[in-house]
Amino acid sequence: MLPLKHLVIILLLLSPGLVLAQSKKTFTISGTIKDKASGETLPAATVSFVELPGKGVTSNSYGFYAISIPEGSYTMLTTYTGYTTDTLKILLTKNMLINKSLASASGQLQEVKIKSSTARSNNILTTPAGVQRLNIKDINNVPVLLGEKDVLKTIQLLPGIVSAGDGNAGFFVRGGAADQNLILLDEATVYNPSHFLGFFSVFNSDAIKDISIYKGGMPANYGGRLSSVEDIQMNDGNNQKFGASGGIGLIASRLTVDGPLFNNKGSFIISARRSYVDLFTGFASDTTTKHSKIYFYDVNLKGNYQLDSINRIFLSGYFGKDVMSFRNSYGLDYGNSTGTLRWNHIFSSKLFSNTSLIYSNYTYDVNIDDNTDNIKVSSAITDYHFKQDFTYYLNASNKLGFGLESTYHITQPGTAVATASSSYNDVFLEKKYALESALYLSDEWNASDKLKITYGVRLSDLSVLGPGNFYTYDKDGNKTDSTYYKSGKIVKSYITPEPRFAASYQLNPTSSVKLSYDRNVQNIHLLNNSAYLSTTNVYLPSSNNIKPEIADQVALGYYHTFHNNGFEFSSEIYYKNLQNQIDYKNGADLVGNPNIEADLLYGSGRAYGWETYIKKKSGKFTGWISYTLSKTELKIPGINNGDYYPATQDQTNHISLVGMYQATKKWTFSADFVYNTGDAVTWPSGKFSVDGAPVYYYGARNSNRLPAYNRLDIGATLLAKKTTKYESSWTFSIYNLYGQSNPYDIIFQADPNNANKTQVQQTTLFKMVPSVTYNFKF
């Protein structure tokens, strides 16, 4: 590898933004920004200077910041949403280390003051198009199903992000499919983010610090999925004092313990949840219910240790599992586990480094043990991932990011093990191996105090590796050739450059325009031809048959803040072009099928839309309205005569309203309303008889629509007790207040009461679900 110095020089030569003025003597201010009470580092806090409008820097995911500015005297402002702004007078004559601890602003009223005094242009310029950041505090008051606070459910109220429906943790970002979202927990990929087959997400909000959502303009350090990145960071734990918090809800209870380690040089956090519906089903008189089980649990663990002023290590992990069984004869369990070991190292006040070793696994097992068969079906995907990131704070105008990563994917598309007396043979599908690597380099360039440009490139490679047999197929899906590759042998390599560009131009102190272009490549494909985000998913890496999926997106946005930054308005349009999209042939069988690739079809797609968002950020009443108008279409040879047709997730209109009102010191009320056009679906155009049973025939793919989805939820939080030592609250909520029958399942079937008729039956899961949760903290 090139020595760092050379790399920096090369970067300098390559980057147009870097050749600018280096005349006046500059010095670097660097440090870490933390929460005063807990010692938690604060990502995306802003450091700016009253004397240098338009210049500023945001802290990275580890709270580290650095900025080089000309010598002089300054008023340095450190701001973070929900915290009191820190003001510091400095005389800069040498490099300085300034660590900041911000105090949490208690109560909404104080926040009004903060807003009015902050450098209000910052938000307008620093946030690239398509990016949303949510602090966990932002989601606490949004009412949710059964009172389980849920980051993934809450982000579905933001523009451009829509739910895949009740009872489905899947979500669609700007027309992308549910598997096109890169969901990271402390950098580890979480393949299946759902509990209870999708009713809840796997993320326990007590363990989470922050979530960043990228719908476009992805920074070059992210890659691997077409539509979005959800980067979720776990809490580090309080390094000042021991604490515990938790909640007792109708579905699940949770407990979190955190505290300092090694004389406050480190901290830890352990957070666990378990649902307990199953504890009650055991008492049921009905034998089916009595012998059926459904529960989940998850554990988040994290520890960190500050070795010295320039070295810090973090170890974090997640383990979760869902278990369900039906009358002891049919069982399903699935879960994710992840582990991340990270080392932060500050080479100099200008160069920050993070090295990560990451493990991620998703496994599911189905057990069938009835009178006639005993089979266990399993499938898994495992990742071993190395990542090295550098941030180089070159000068006041340029922040460079560069690094490399490499992931070894092992997927087991399916095994089935049966007892000798079973009707089934054992099946072992070949494991698939792939090495996914990337090099990236980007520059955040403050070209002027009005113009900020982030540009970069990511060079990704997917190498399909042996051992294994690789087949080619003709258009009818018959094998035409077979080759065996030895272990470690490269079968096929796909190298794709992914340019990334985002620019913001500030029109005036309260408004800006933003433009972004990015290309993303996806090499892990989820195969699922079931209508449900089923757990029995098959993950396949790109191969000699499956090409990397590619998306190119352009987005243009306008941002405006008004009423003294109390309101934020944004409006964006986007256009996305998709290549190598995957669909299935009729009757494709994905279970235990060694020739699964023969059943796939490939095509292209396009998605475009307009998103509008208005948010009231301060005062007793806060909330937002978001509206999205969009279209998503696919074009796949062999389907609908090769014409464009609407993708399932093509929801033309999507509206959400969220409101939170702090009525008194004790009571906070909230409500949210969601409306969206129903998914595009394929319904029968008529029927005929096969062996006496009505069978349906179909017209064009996805030419029908589910009924529009709509729902109103309300919630209230009562702060029961608040002292410096103990805090407790009650959260009440009603999900789907007016009992709208939103479809979960629609089946076309023979009428059970009239042999001469057929009927359409709809199943609705949630019609008005009240809940109560008790939360405590000490």
Binding site: I368, D373, F688, V690, V695, P707, Q762
Partner: protein
């Protein structure tokens, strides 16, 4: 393993009591009526029948208008025997002389309004059903027949099951293939509707050995008929008859067993 998802829904319905089911009547597009040809030659004694009808719209009665006036021929291509079928009632065409023999290949030819529809099907070697028993417990309120037979290891086999209760054939069928169970002794629960089989009923199960073309159609038709809610992209089952029609033609072996539900 197709029955997984309904069971999951059932579990969810039990646990989330706020859920409910109702009949809805969404507007559906009405396709132009299409031609449906259905028929089989089997290793049981003839005559055999080919039925020609038209599709109807989803909300119409399950009465499918029969189509008369077709010229229907079945040829035993293995021995070169032709049989021109006679329309014995409207839309029902009956054979005269042709005999179903395992291993023989049969061709169906239908000429209607100047259009040709053809299909070829090869009768597999027979597989005998040993016995049937009943499973009273796997699914609540449902008595399920269980079939027992040996799948031959030397061949790729495709099956279809039908159930007759007290002499009345149930409007249901089920398919199977030996892809994951080649050469095994098969014990399999057949899916029935709740209450379709009661105590003291005389239950007859047919095990039909079918070929790949007929299986492909029937397997897709089974998913469409009974599990269409689970398919992300439901589509018209692919007929093994060429020329642009629905339905299937099958040369099949038949083995049946009956038992009384205790």
């Amino acid at each position: 393993m197709r029955i997984q998802t309904p069971i999951i829904i059932l579990v969810l319905l039990i646990l989330f009591s706020s859920s409910c089911q109702k009949v809805i009547t969404p507007q559906l597009s009405n396709g132009a009526p299409q031609l449906v040809i259905e028929g089989a030659v089997s290793d049981t004694t003839g005559p055999y029948h080919i039925n020609i009808s038209k599709t109807v719209s989803f909300y119409a009665d399950n009465t499918y208008p029969n189509v008369s006036g077709a010229s229907v021929t079945i040829t035993d291509q293995t021995v070169g025997v032709n049989d021109l079928l006679t329309e014995t009632s409207t839309g029902v065409y009956t054979t005269h002389s042709i005999v179903g023999t395992p291993g023989h290949t049969y061709q169906l030819q239908v000429v209607l309004n100047g259009k040709n529809y053809t299909a070829v099907s090869t009768m597999p070697l027979p597989v005998a059903l040993d016995s049937i028993t009943f499973d009273y417990t796997s699914v609540k309120n449902m008595i399920q027949p269980v079939v027992h037979y040996q799948d031959p290891a030397a061949f790729v086999n495709y099956y279809k099951y039908n159930i007759t209760v007290n002499g009345v054939k149930l409007n249901r069928f089920q398919t199977d293939e030996d892809r994951l169970m080649n050469g095994k002794y098969i014990n399999e629960d057949l899916v029935t509707d709740t209450g379709a089989i009661k105590k003291n009923n005389l239950v007859l199960v047919n095990l039909d050995g079918i070929d790949k073309g007929a299986y492909n159609f029937l397997q897709e038709a089974e998913n469409i008929a009974f599990y269409n809610d689970q398919l992300a992209t439901p589509a018209t089952p692919t007929s093994n008859i060429s020329g642009g029609c629905l339905g299937y033609f099958s040369a099949q072996t038949v083995s049946s067993k009956s038992a009384v539900v205790k």
